[in-house]
């Protein structure tokens, strides 16, 4: 089919004044709920579904899609400003973004996030327009063994997330994996580690764990010895990126976009790995890996781009095959059906105006987001001038309300408190929270795909090395470990001759 003509059709739909308005409302709402911790795109789209009844199908879907990728932009804002990530992707941004904010560089951090996201969003949308069907086909080659291998690779590569002891980081990942197993086993229905509480059957809520272990733990730490030090940020230096900053973010943005685009296409949970993988890659490739964890701008640029690219390309399986890649996409399926359109392989042919209209609107939405977010940076940074003693009660409240609103489950609220204490204690004893979160999101996937692969292969573990994609991924995983271990062995040899520092 003629792509140019199709895109022309798409833009004619997307540039309809009403649709531009819906797109704007969508990205604005998305940004706002992304900024509010707890309340995420899932909750917002669910709440807004009834309103979209009265809109045209194109308008409704453009608006809902806008909420989703708008929230990806907004989500990084709170992660950077107050260390409160609302989603797995922004958890990575919090690592270096919050450190930058503490050093008075919140402006550049936010600008990096916005620019990186815009670039990634544009590339992701182009991929969606030009290659969606073949990419979706390719992604279908990923079965359980491939996902298992991919997750193992992701976990091993991500040890780089830690800027302290590798042993502790490993232990935190494993602890996260275990916490991810809380709840009903999907294979047998057996409730695990639930203490008989039915509310825990569907597992611990990610937002609760993230908000507790990052946000609340940070508050508890800041309340230590308040009078002795200034807990909040240094004076804001500048709002915009310096020439040097631009140089530093260019490559990470491109690499993050590539990684994110590829992983986002995989419907079995690839998008979750995107930002973690990008962070690890940047740290490995950086000439100054020691800066990571202390405010490295590459640590914001890479993951943010990866995350936004994945957000765009995760529409590919939905739009071309009708397969939802994650809960937000499942909601989009619901939105399609409510509009009288069953998403599936035929949408592209039966509803070309809708299909191309949504794609075109995504790019327009990305333009709006960057125009909306860049001026907002000044406002957000001003927010940091609110004294911390007034800010932190608001953070606690937002966290509770947001988590409660997701499922109306009070145990999600209790979990914030529990993980706040856990995070605080572990932080005091030198363990960082990011690896734990990575383990937490990947734990259930790791187990699910391992067990499924074994069932389908009827208990034959060679399935992981006889299938080419899975074998390649596992080979890369081994390579990653070797590369990680070699320098430390070399360093150990040197250390023998060096006195303790």
């Amino acid at each position: 089919m003629d792509i140019i003509a199709s895109l022309g059709l798409g833009f004619s739909v997307a540039l309809d004044p009403m649709n531009i308005l819906y797109c704007f409302i969508g990205v604005l709402l998305g940004t706002l709920v992304g900024v509010l911790p707890g309340i995420g795109p899932t909750a917002t789209i669910a709440m807004l579904l009834p309103i979209t009844f009265s809109l045209s199908p194109a308008g409704a879907l453009i608006m809902l899609a806008g909420i989703y990728y708008g929230a990806q932009y907004g989500g990084s804002t709170t992660a950077i400003l107050i260390n409160l990530p609302g989603e797995s992707s922004s958890a990575v941004t919090a690592i270096d973004g919050y450190q930058m904010a503490k050093q008075g560089r919140a402006g550049p951090a936010l600008a990096t996030a916005a620019l990186g996201s815009f670039f990634a969003g544009t590339v992701g949308t182009l991929l969606l327009a030009f290659f969606a069907p073949p990419l979706a086909r390719a992604a279908l080659n990923f079965g359980a063994p491939e996902y298992f291998a991919l997750i193992v690779l992701g976990l091993l590569v991500s040890i780089a997330l830690a800027h302290g002891s590798i042993l502790k980081a490993l232990a935190m990942i494993v602890l996260g994996l275990l916490l991810g197993m809380v709840g009903q086993d999907i294979y047998t229905g057996q409730p695990r580690f639930t203490f008989g509480i039915r509310e825990l059957y569907s597992g611990l809520n990610f937002v609760s764990v993230a908000v507790g272990i990052f946000g609340v733990a940070e508050i508890l730490r800041n309340l230590e010895n308040e009078k002795g030090r200034d807990v909040m940020v240094k004076a804001v230096k500048n709002l915009w990126l310096t020439k040097d900053d631009f140089k530093r973010i260019a490559a990470p943005v491109v690499r993050g976009t590539v990684l994110g685009s590829v992983l986002g296409i995989l419907p079995g949970g690839g998008h979750i790995l995107a930002s973690f993988a990008s962070y690890s890659a940047e740290k490995r490739l950086s000439k100054h890996p020691e800066e990571f964890g202390h405010g490295a701008i590459e640590g914001v640029a890479g993951p943010e781009s990866a995350n936004n690219a994945a957000a765009q390309t995760s529409f590919i399986p939905l739009m071309t095959l009708g397969i939802p890649a994650h809960p937000v996409m499942a909601l989009m399926v619901g939105a399609f059906i409510l509009q009288g359109i069953t998403p599936g392989p035929n949408v592209i042919n039966d509803q070309p105006a809708l299909f191309w209209g949504i794609i075109a609107s995504m790019w327009i939405g990305n333009v709006m987001l960057v125009l909306l977010n860049l001026p907002l940076i000044g406002l957000w940074v001003k927010m940091l001038s609110i004294p911390y003693r007034a800010l932190f009660p608001a953070i606690v409240l937002f966290a509770c309300i947001g988590c409660y609103s997701i499922n109306q489950n009070i145990y999600d609220v209790y979990a914030i408190g529990f993980f706040g204490v856990v995070g605080y204690v572990l932080m005091r004893f030198g363990c960082e929270p990011a690896p734990l979160l990575l383990g937490f999101v990947l734990g259930p996937l790791l187990e699910e795909h391992l067990r499924r692969a074994m069932i389908i292969s009827r208990g034959d573990p060679t399935v992981f090395i006889t299938r080419p994609i899975s074998a390649t991924l596992l080979g890369l995983a081994v390579l990653a470990v070797v590369i990680a271990v070699l320098p430390s062995i070399r360093k150990k040899r040197k250390e023998v001759f060096v006195e303790e520092d």
């Binding site: 917002t44 232990a171 057996q190 695990r192 937002f398 509770c400 609103s405 030198g430 074994m454």
Partner: protein
């Protein structure tokens, strides 16, 4: 003391990992471990729990001869008790008392957990936050929770 030769940080965090790993592994013994073909619900937690306990030992051992150098601040017990208390209070009463009273009390108490906040400042902050949150979440986002809950007879 022998411990002085150790990093307290590594010793304690290692200990936490050992205890957590042991808990998951032992609890997993109550679930079916299964076969490689059909792994049971106990398989992964048992394996990972043991790994975690092992890593915990390694973390503790890695602290040998590396006593902590930096001084640690004393935790703010007032902060911990009040903040965690607020979270529990919020969860326990949101259905019964309704949005407005719970947010008002929660933000007041949360504000008090900082020694820098006077009671008057906390009250003002609580009122501001309550108005803001009600507008954003209940009015703006249409969160389905009563303003005042059934316990208040409304």
């Amino acid at each position: 003391m022998a411990v002085s030769n150790f990093s307290t940080k590594d010793l304690v965090s290692g200990g936490i990992f050992v205890v957590a790993g042991a808990y998951f592994a032992l609890e997993a013994l109550n679930y079916e471990v299964g076969t490689p073909f059909r792994m049971g619900p106990g398989f992964m937690p048992l394996f990972l729990g043991s790994v975690l306990a092992g890593l915990g030992l390694a973390v503790a051992a890695s602290g040998w001869k590396k006593p902590d150098t930096e001084e640690r601040l004393t935790p703010s017990w007032r902060g911990i008790v009040l903040i965690i208390g607020v979270v529990i209070f919020f969860g326990a009463t949101i259905r019964g008392l309704g949005f407005v009273p719970v947010v008002l009390v929660s933000s007041f108490v949360a504000a008090l957990s900082s020694r820098l906040n006077s009671p008057l400042f906390s009250i003002l902050l609580a009122i501001t936050l309550t108005v803001m949150c009600t507008l954003i979440f209940v009015v703006g986002l249409g969160m389905s929770v009563p303003w005042f809950g059934p316990w208040l007879g409304m």
